[in-house]
Amino acid sequence: MFGFGLIKGLWVTFKNLIGPTFTVQYPDKRVGLFKVAKYYKQNPFSFLKSHPIDGLKSIVGQAVIKEYPDQFPRFRGQEFNWYEDRCTGCASCAKYCPLGIIEIETHPGENNIQEGTSYDIDVFDIDIGRCMFCGICVEACPFDALHMGSGFEKATEKREELVIAVDELRSADKRPSTWFRPQIEQSSYQPRDKEMDDFHDIGRHEKPTKEELTERWVNER
């Protein structure tokens, strides 16, 4: 009958009215008592005691807790992670960047008898205001020194502030994305959970054992 299709449509929207929503309420959301207690890892009563004001708010469903969208380890974020100890200053990243936004200046560093001569980095500017986060610089890095970051909140008011300088790269949190780094991904690493400060952990290869080192540095020579 005419109009039946319209009623079917009304029924579908009604089903969605009572169904769940799919909104992620970044950066915070308002919840009731049980959820906020769970968020603070307490039971509701002790939460009411410890946080009286939040507790009262939560009874009418107005307690504020943080919420982040789901983020997967390969997420190509801002804040590049750079391990200076791994970097030789080869500037592969600068060469392979499709937009040419990486600027590197080096000078010959102090002699390292065991590993050979390396270069010290003077300037390592990444202009993420023009970056498109394709990750090709990371793909190109032969020594796994440069990694994509996992953040997405670096909004500024000026374009100049978007240039990441070498000091900033040195001091930044080391939460590398697992984009093009299968070795990190194997250890089911989540960038939001923990930092990776040690440059040894991040490499493409297994850490050499003592025997291998002996083989390489003593027996072969």
């Binding site: 005419f2 109009g3 039946f4 299709g5 319209l6 079917k8 449509g9 029924w11 579908v12 929207t13 089903k15 969605n16 799919f22 789901d70 983020q71 997967f72 380890p73 390969r74 997420f75 190509r76 392979y96 499709p98 498109m132 986060f133 394709c134 990750g135 090709i136 793909e139 190109a140 994509m148 994305s177 984009w179 093009f180 299968p182 991904e185």
Partner: protein
């Protein structure tokens, strides 16, 4: 008594709620009736073809993402196939299966967006669109698992894909495959029998078979006119020859057929995805010997694929260097615009936007 009327010329776009980006039409109306349409494009022209001439073959992948930004996986696929043919690279089987999975997911996402916006152009207050975007969101999340980005993927590389799918991808994909048919049913309940949708879309913007073929229109628009021309079936690239699926064909070629063909193709894509999951075997995702800097020998190659919008192909010419000598994109949504004027002449103002929406045109691909 006859009333003297005067035609009114109006600029629709480039900033307009339903021109899907920065499309502009110089429309002449007589009352509510359209007497002339002239599409004006180029507002999103970024010169991708020229940019590609100065970038290496791998770097161009990132440019292809930005052409059809609703279906970047298929753009990658088309480009990569062309590079592989040019450089004579044999891809790894697992990589090929993975990129088939990715491109079929992308097809569902693109068709969802196309149908959602078509209904939005019909005037539904964003409801079907948001239902569609909700499904697309799940696909984008899977893309984030695969390659860390949701829209500008750059997932594919010459020889396969750049990394194997993570462990969490397969459960998510299976969950999606289980849920999606019900969602499509919901959408069909909401729209396919809805009398308003029917009277608005049926017999509007009709494209005949011959007109369509003659104007090089491809993809769901061509199939809605009743031509059985799906490159996945007629000229199987990747491993589509190992997969069985059916092609939905319309009979009249109006807006409603185009809408239905897209819905049916979403179901077919789900079928293809299931078969891909069955067929995929463990192994390397790209051959070790493919260098980062591909240097194809002199020559040219053109591999058309069936993108969600139609036949998408990259015509690459190599002079033996590290970057393509010439990179031409055969952009389906650009060529599908050819007959827009003929389709809407004599229709009402409201039909203009519905017809335009049913063509599923993406301005990033039109202007490149």
């Amino acid at each position: 008594m006859s009333i003297r009327t005067e035609p009114v010329t109006m600029n629709v776009g480039p900033i307009h709620p339903s021109t899907h980006g920065v499309f502009r039409m110089r429309v002449t109306f007589d009352g509510e009736e359209i007497i002339d349409v002239e599409p004006v494009i180029g507002y999103l022209h970024r010169g991708s073809e020229k940019l590609a001439e100065e970038r290496t073959y791998t770097q161009v992948v990132t440019l292809t993402d930005r052409m059809d930004y609703v279906a970047s996986m298929t753009n990658n696929q088309s480009y990569i196939l062309s590079v592989e043919k040019l450089a004579g690279i044999t891809p790894s089987p697992r990589g090929v299966w993975l990129r088939m999975i990715a491109s079929e997911l992308q097809r569902i996402a693109s068709h969802a967006v196309a149908n959602g916006f078509l209904i939005n152009d019909l005037g539904a207050w964003h409801t079907p669109l948001l239902y569609m975007l909700r499904e697309r969101e799940k696909i984008l999340e899977m893309f984030e698992m695969l390659c860390g980005a949701r829209i500008t993927n750059s997932y594919l590389r010459p020889g396969g894909v750049f990394m194997d799918a993570p462990d969490q991808f397969w459960p998510a994909l299976n969950r999606f495959l289980d849920e999606m048919p019900h969602r499509i049913d919901d959408i069909e309940n909401l729209l396919s029998t809805n009398e308003i949708v029917l009277i608005r879309t049926q017999n509007v913007g009709v494209l005949k078979k011959d007109e369509c073929l003659n104007a090089s229109i491809t993809g769901p628009v061509l199939r809605a006119s009743g031509v059985d021309w799906d490159l996945r079936h007629k000229n199987p690239y990747d491993y589509y020859d190992q997969i069985s699926f059916s092609r939905p064909l319309g009979e009249i070629g109006d807006n409603h057929d185009r809408f239905l063909v897209r819905i049916f193709e979403m179901r077919e894509s789900l079928k293809i995805l299931r078969q891909c999951i069955e067929n995929i075997q463990p192994g390397p995702v790209r051959p070790k010997e493919v260098p980062f800097l591909v240097r194809p020998p002199k020559g040219d190659s053109y591999v058309p694929i069936e993108s969600p919008k139609g036949e998408l192909g990259f015509y690459l010419v190599s002079d033996g260097g590290v970057s393509p000598f010439r990179c031409h994109v055969r952009a389906p949504s650009f060529i599908n615009l050819t007959l827009l004027r003929e389709m809407v002449l004599g229709d009402k103002i409201a039909d203009l936007f519905v017809t335009f929406g049913s063509l599923d045109v993406n301005m990033g691909e039109v202007d490149r």
